[in-house]
Subunit: 225 residues, 2 copies
DNA sequence: AGTTAAATTCAGTTTTACTTCAGTTTTACC
DNA sequence: GGTAAAACTGAAGTAAAACTGAATTTAACT
């Protein structure tokens, strides 16, 4: 595989370089943001190992660049900080995994293999909204890495909401999406109230943000912010 | 949304009226060409659902009228004939969609939504007036990047004002747009005063410009400058 | 079949927006 | 400036909408 290593610490960079090269990988490295973006502009890689704290900016820029250009490179973030925010931010912008310094080179290799397998089986089809991660293939939802168990209706409901993130969804539109338009619910939204309530409860058990806002008289809105 | 239904078949007309009213639309209806033109002369609508075969003429006249006056109303033609000619003729004169009887009311609604989305996405979803940004899909209003929470009536009111930016809106026109013409408010504008007051207050909490000017004895005017 | 979970209904409660009202301020016109 | 109509204001009442917990019905899975 062709791997780009973006890391300013000389020792770590050279260790990764030699260690990964032993496994028949083609490795290149650079020490700052500008060089990384320039290299990515010239070549395609299979993997980018990305330090966040770089001398000329944050590694997130690379992620944004790749996401913006719809590039296929797998990215593993390598960061000194172990904050949840950075981890989630990285995964949000499209990173595939996250590694905190210090780490064993063997762990790095294991993660590369794992990410590669996940990407090639194409089951990494996930939607990320802050601490909420929705895996479409597995039909699972995790919040802060703990899975919440949703029923069919709850999951479909959540999907419809996130598919229309930010937009206001009327209760009738919701009903039509979930039950089809044959359903006549003359002014009876009890079951919607019920499902909304249950979905909200499950979400609020693991995060304090209210993602599902009510718009009085209009409907509901799923929001990121 | 404010919808005008032009349909001479009593059953169908009443069905559409009740069905669409359920979705918080303000609906009015008439049964012939003359009334339709008269109503369009008096009020603005968001949508016109237009039957072609009317007792006193062809619905195409309405389309010509709207086109001639450069009106913004979206038009969905409803016709018993399924001839390609009519369809083409209608779309040529400026109809946005075409529906052949008989049809399901759910299909009508789906088309209304689709036409509305097409119309609104074509003309950049967001309305911007200096520091005020109105997002129709999200049903949000931000002033200097902070969101202000508006109720239904406040939001609809604001929309009506900005749609008629610079023009003076009489209180009766405002009342008719927001409540439909069934509402009789014999010289009692208390609720308008109330809503205006609340809307103004919310706006003035975040900007010092008075966008909503009162024209004594006449009405109100939303202005940019 | 029987068991469990999910979907829906129900009745009672809380919340919210809309309207009304009474009192005050502003405006146009004499 | 005085006056009456028009416009505004804060607060209170009211009905609709939304929410809730639990009960019931329905569907799903051995």
């Amino acid at each position: 595989m062709k791997i780009l290593i973006v890391e300013d610490e000389q020792g770590l960079r050279e260790n990764m370089l030699t260690y990964l090269s032993e496994d028949k990988n083609v490795c290149e490295s650079c020490t700052n943001l500008a060089d990384a973006l320039s290299k990515l502009g010239l070549y395609n890689y299979d993997f980018v190992l990305l330090d966040i704290g770089l001398p000329d900016g944050e590694g997130f820029e690379v992620l944004r660049y790749l996401k913006d250009k719809m590039r296929e490179e797998a990215v593993i973030i390598i960061s000194a900080r172990n904050s949840l925010d950075d981890r989630i931010k990285g995964l949000n912008i499209g990173a595939d995994d996250y590694l905190t310094k210090p780490f064993h080179l063997s762990e790095l290799k294991a993660r590369i293999v794992a990410v590669f397998r996940r990407k090639s089986t194409n089951s990494s089809n996930k939607l990320v909204f802050n601490e909420i991660v929705i895996n479409l293939m597995e039909r699972t939802v995790t919040i802060n890495e703990t899975e919440i168990i949703l029923t069919r209706k709850e999951f479909d409901m959540l999907l419809y909401f996130v598919a229309n993130k930010g937009k206001v969804i009327s209760k009738t539109a919701l009903a039509e999406h979930l039950w089809g338009d044959e359903m006549d619910m003359h002014d009876n939204f009890d079951f919607i109230y019920s499902h909304i309530k249950n979905l909200r409860k499950k979400i609020l058990d693991f995060t304090t943000n209210d993602y599902l806002k009510s718009i009085y008289g209009i409907g509901y809105k799923f929001t990121d912010k």
